[in-house]
Symmetry: C2
Subunit: 255 residues, 2 copies
DNA sequence: CGATGGCGTGAACAGCGTTCACTGTCAATT
DNA sequence: AATTGACAGTGAACGCTGTTCACGCCATCG
């Protein structure tokens, strides 16, 4: 957006490449004249939202845009860069505004839940986020939003950094295992597979796995929201106590 | 191991496929007659340890075993199954013995650190672990080892399950972002890139990212061990307080 | 009106996971 | 002891992936 904008023929190249233009999912009312980096990223986002991250292929993305695969490389240097742009586009959906009058624990909790909800809506993107150094503008905005309450709460730089990473590590790491979409294998966690899972736990040798056998079916349920809430609450509670009580934490590195 | 064991020719098929057998990395002193599922998985593990997870390719794995790619499919149904076996092979290295006389917080802390150390030694495997339902024998052993102290400490089933997943979510999620090995791009976090990162933070607009500008360089350092220790301590501390104080945790699901 | 530069095309390349007919060799059977 | 059958590994192929590049087309600028 902002660069000099080419002209507007009725439909660019409609005579030459007739069929692709009409087979493509051009359901929008607006005429889509030419490709843009923003349009590429936007289509990648809806593709991921619909079919998951492993469906994001240069070829299928190009097909959805009514374009030959190589054309994408005019707007994106590589698939890796496209993924970086996708990550930043997803993080743009996180609302970074929090009431700074609230205690920092509340602010961080709200931000973490917002981040989780956004990542949950784009399955697989968290996996990209953890493999990259996220330095896009919206990634930075999220970082700033999380770091600011910690700083204002009086955390010294080092401890603020630790708390910051601990919170992001947990939130992103939690979302890396998003609910599987792949329907080809029965990976979807429906009632049937849950029953088979419970049978599996009952069938385990009780001498080797006593706790798993007795607790298994009470534990392996898909209560992702509850799990995240419990985790983030424990985490922030622990951070708060570490702030007040023992700023130098003991080290358990060996063993 | 256990099935009827074929014969032992001096070198199986050495006349037909002469060169491959000698070009293969047969540095071991033992004669390697034929393929085994265990040998395939073992070679995959050393390949991952040496070159990272993205170097694990059916073709290169076959080449290292002195074998044509299709031959692997006699011992492994698919690459996905191979990855599952790799995950379980890695988790076999986790020592699951803990002194059950210690407080549960100590036991869990030790286990979490051991798990982290093992995963750190096999970069990329944590990423597989979070995308699978780990039901191999060694995965189950780790689960049992973590769950048992919680159970013995009096956690009711539901709360034990929550604590269990919270600890594993954090530990595995933390390890998903292992230090990059890929040297082709300058992803390795050396001193030079750290300096460039600090310059980057100083160059940010201070009106948009005030906290990042002031705290940036004190925060983005590669203190992974310290970060993990701080996180797991805060987490377990928070879980301990939740156990004693408010067993019913408030819910922050909306917003 | 002609030159220019950017964008999409079409085709190709290397590499990936996976399949399959075939072959050689061992182990058990007759 | 000779025959049979099972099976591991071969070689080649299929369809897919990301990526590159010479080639035209077209809008714009001079």
């Amino acid at each position: 957006m902002g660069q000099p904008q080419r002209g507007t023929p009725a439909r660019r190249g409609a005579a030459a490449t007739h069929s692709l233009w009409f087979n493509a999912p051009e359901t929008d009312e607006q005429i889509r004249r030419t490709l843009t980096r923003d349009r590429v990223v936007a289509e990648a986002l809806t593709l991921i939202a619909q079919q998951g991250i492993e469906a994001l292929t240069m070829r299928t993305l190009a097909a959805r845009l009514g374009v030959v695969p190589g054309a994408l490389y005019r707007h994106v240097r590589s698939k890796e860069q496209l993924q970086d742009l996708v990550v930043d586009g997803v993080l743009a959906e996180v609302d970074c505004n929090v009431n700074s009058a609230l205690p920092w624990t509340e602010q961080i909790t709200v931000l973490a839940h917002r981040l989780r909800n956004v990542l949950e809506a784009h399955p697989g993107v968290a996996g990209l986020l953890k493999t990259r150094d996220p330095l896009g503008p919206h990634s930075l905005a999220v970082a700033e939003a999380v770091l600011r309450p910690l700083h204002n709460a009086g955390f010294p730089p080092h401890e603020a950094g630790l708390a910051f990473f601990v919170i992001l590590d947990y939130t992103l790491g939690f979302e890396v295992s998003s609910p599987r979409i792949s329907v080809n294998e029965q990976r979807v966690q429906d009632a049937a597979t849950r029953t088979r899972l419970h049978e599996f736990f009952r069938s385990l040798p009780p001498d080797l796995f006593p706790t798993l056998v007795t607790l298994g079916e009470h534990i392996w349920l898909d209560n992702r929201a509850q799990r995240f809430t419990a985790g983030i609450n424990a985490l922030i509670d622990g951070l708060q106590r570490a702030q007040h009580h023992h700023p130098a934490d003991q080290c358990h590195d060996q063993l």
